[in-house]
């Protein structure tokens, strides 16, 4: 089972290993360094430039979940950069977050009128974030869906020009990224980027025709200039007041999104569905008695992985004798969610 979701950019990289022709003579070629050599028609003559992508990294995102007091959940991430990475990781963005716990109200940037209000907005966006030293964390509205949250951390090489260690260099890892939330975890995408040099770019206005295929492909490259990895993120809101059956249904609904992402086998999802339904029914009719059904679901997960109860992806190991029917991170998230419901209903430890 895949543990890493490499979306789109992988496909792009594969496709750009070959040459793309658009306007006669135009092309995008990826060289041995992984840089794109762009040959384009500027309306008067053929020109060439180079685009250094931020994807020359080998990231691994390790999620860790912990249930703290008053049902607050801590989300922590460790980022690893592979030994073959050519760039240090300097930016991490996780979007699609349903909610983040804030001890102080968010001041939206849309309300900013002067430097003081800008600082207030900035600080309110920084406040909920946990980050390692020298990293800047921000929680902003997700640009793709303003009702959701995007968390991000960046390492400013310009703010720390004398640092020996830039971001997360190849062959190293960095702990301490995170935030808290009352929402239950699901699985979302973390977008990671490597450090790129300041680039000269086009010496003119670039390709002359916005209709050309090369422009379309360049847009794709620029829009997908990151490496994506799966991460546990707040994705499932808890009903208030707490309702175990409704919570289970939300967990089940989120689980169904994993099928398309190939994080769970459909047959196993169907098996879990019956347990979800039974558990919800029992919770509705008999209250905590539904915990028994949850226990049976947890057992199905434990059959495939060990260490799920620790809430840390690092600690989860696949049981070699059993073929996995669910991705490791997915198993960790589902185990955590089910255990949460059980605890809210007085069961589990």
């Amino acid at each position: 089972m895949k543990t890493k979701l490499s979306i789109l950019i992988g496909l792009l990289l594969a496709s750009y290993a070959s040459v793309i022709f658009a306007y006669p003579g135009e092309s995008i070629v990826q060289d041995a360094n992984g840089d794109y050599l762009i040959t384009y028609w500027n309306g008067a003559k053929m020109k060439q430039t180079k685009f250094v992508p931020a994807t020359k990294i080998e990231p691994t995102v390790i999620s860790a979940l912990k249930l703290a007091d008053v049902w607050l959940i801590t989300y922590r991430y460790t980022i690893d950069n592979g030994v073959n990475a050519k760039q240090p990781i300097t930016q991490i963005m996780i979007g699609g977050i349903s909610n983040i716990y804030r001890s102080q109200p968010l001041v939206p940037f849309s309300s900013v009128t002067d430097m003081n209000s800008a600082l207030s907005a900035f600080q309110s966006s920084q406040a909920p974030m946990v980050q390692p030293n020298l990293w800047n964390g921000l929680a902003l509205p997700d640009p793709e869906n303003n009702s959701l949250v995007q968390s991000s951390w960046d390492f400013s090489t310009e703010m720390h020009p004398h640092e020996i260690r830039i971001g997360i260099p190849h062959g190293s890892y960095q702990q301490g990224f995170g935030y808290d939330s009352f929402d239950l975890p699901g699985i979302g995408a973390a977008k990671l980027e490597g450090d790129t040099p300041i680039q000269q770019g086009y010496e003119d206005e670039g390709p002359s025709s916005t209709d050309s295929e090369i422009v379309s492909q360049l847009n794709q490259i620029e829009s997908n200039d990151f490496v994506a990895r799966n991460a546990a993120i707040p994705a499932i809101a808890i009903p208030d007041p707490f309702d175990p059956a409704a919570t289970l249904e939300r967990i089940q609904e989120h689980m169904h999104t994993w099928i398309a992402k190939q994080l769970i086998e459909p047959a196993f999802a169907a098996q879990l569905d019956s347990h979800f339904k039974t558990a919800a029914d029992v919770y509705r009719k008999q209250g905590p008695a539904g915990n028994g059904q949850i226990g049976r679901m947890l057992a199905l997960l434990v059959q495939q992985y060990e260490g799920l109860e620790k809430g840390d992806e690092e600690s989860v190991k696949k049981k070699s004798a059993v073929p996995a029917q669910i991705d490791k991170l997915a198993a960790l998230v589902l185990y955590f969610d089910l255990k949460y419901v059980m605890r809210r209903m007085g069961g589990g430890n």
């Binding site: 640009p143 310009e158 300041i198 770019g201 003119d204 206005e205 670039g206 916005t210 209709d211």
Partner: protein
Amino acid sequence: MDTLTFAASGIRHQASGKNHNRRLNFALHILAIAIPVMATVQPAVADTIAATATYTIYHTSNHETCDNLQGAYYTYSTPADTLASHQASFPRYCHQGGILKWTQVASNFVLTSNTSLTFTVDVARTAYTAAVHDTGIVKTWAVFWTCPSGYTGPDASHMCTLACPPHASGTPCACDAGYVFDAAGTSCVAEQYTVALQNPLADVEPSGTANVYAATSRDVYAQVIDQQTSLPQVGAQVKFSVDVIAGTGGHDHHDALRPKGKLLDCRDNTTEVESTVCITQLDGKATVTFKAPEVSGTHTINAECISPACTNPASGDINVKVDGLESIPISPFYNMQLPNRDTNHPKAHFLMEAPQKKLETIAILYMLKTLYMRKQSAPPDITLNDASLEWGGVLDCFLTCNSDQYPSTPWHKHHIEHRRGSVVDIKANGSTGSIAHEKDFRTAAKKMGIALGVPHGSGSGRHYHLRLNNRGE
């Protein structure tokens, strides 16, 4: 034998008074002879014309004397009062050698001339009868019917028909080609069509972006109406043409080469032309498709119906523009290069609202980074240059962009994109006010979901081409 021949299908007699027997005989005689049915007078427009018709009845006897009619009387009735029968006597003033002088004896009749009876009847009446009695001798009278002025006839049925006015003929009257009845329906006047252009003409976006997010063409109709009847005219030919108004769309320059909108030829609805003739349909509307050029501006569409009867060509303006563009507001977090060096396009700082908000947030995030780098007192080092014209579309810059290496001519898209208020240039040439920390600027942009790409331009022209909607437009 003299006979008085007139009256008609419904002869009515009333025996009364001292001449009862004579009247009776006369009546019987009248009934006995074959009286042509002549006097059912039903003018064709009887119900609508309040006029009089004069009927002349000639006495054809050559031996009748005045004395013979002494004491004669006549009766008459009309359909309007068929239950009543009126009796009147001829006046007793025959004179002048036996010449009869009959004068009016009843309100409905005028009898004149010694040998004729002239009836004046209200032609609104649809029929009447009359009979003349003499002293016992049945007279034969020839009746000549005439119609009042303005009418023709009578026809064989003694029908009067409204005479056709000038420029009309036929029964019933029809106006000649090119003429129509006036509002009263009594005369033919030359046809007059009015052509009116659809109003208002909705805006349309400039064409030429890789992806079309709004309509870049629009159907426009002109309606031809008959001014007299207010009815739509089907089959009328309407010639459409289009031109562009100088100085519109944010371009303070103009020449004959300025691209202007085209019309689709109504014959094939495909070929792009500057004028075309279209035919009105049942609703009187002729429709043409207007296709916007890449350059914004106000276009005038003219519609002229090809007929002498059409007297007023119509015209209307259609704005080729991107709707919703707003001038970028002044902000403490960025500078703007004002005034724009390109005096042909003095206002090139327009954006849509959502991209503008993103831009401002990027500028704030970037500015705060500079604060953390102890640059609090420094002015913002984001300087905005070209965004979009106030109506969007091609932003040409031949005045400031032209060079031997990168030739630029009016109306040509030397400025790539910048057409829909979502792209803005940010100075990155190393001069005062340009971005000092490009990596942090890129980071700020990415946090707002903007894929920045590589800079554009070289030397003093180096800048970031910020696509705030992440697409080239």
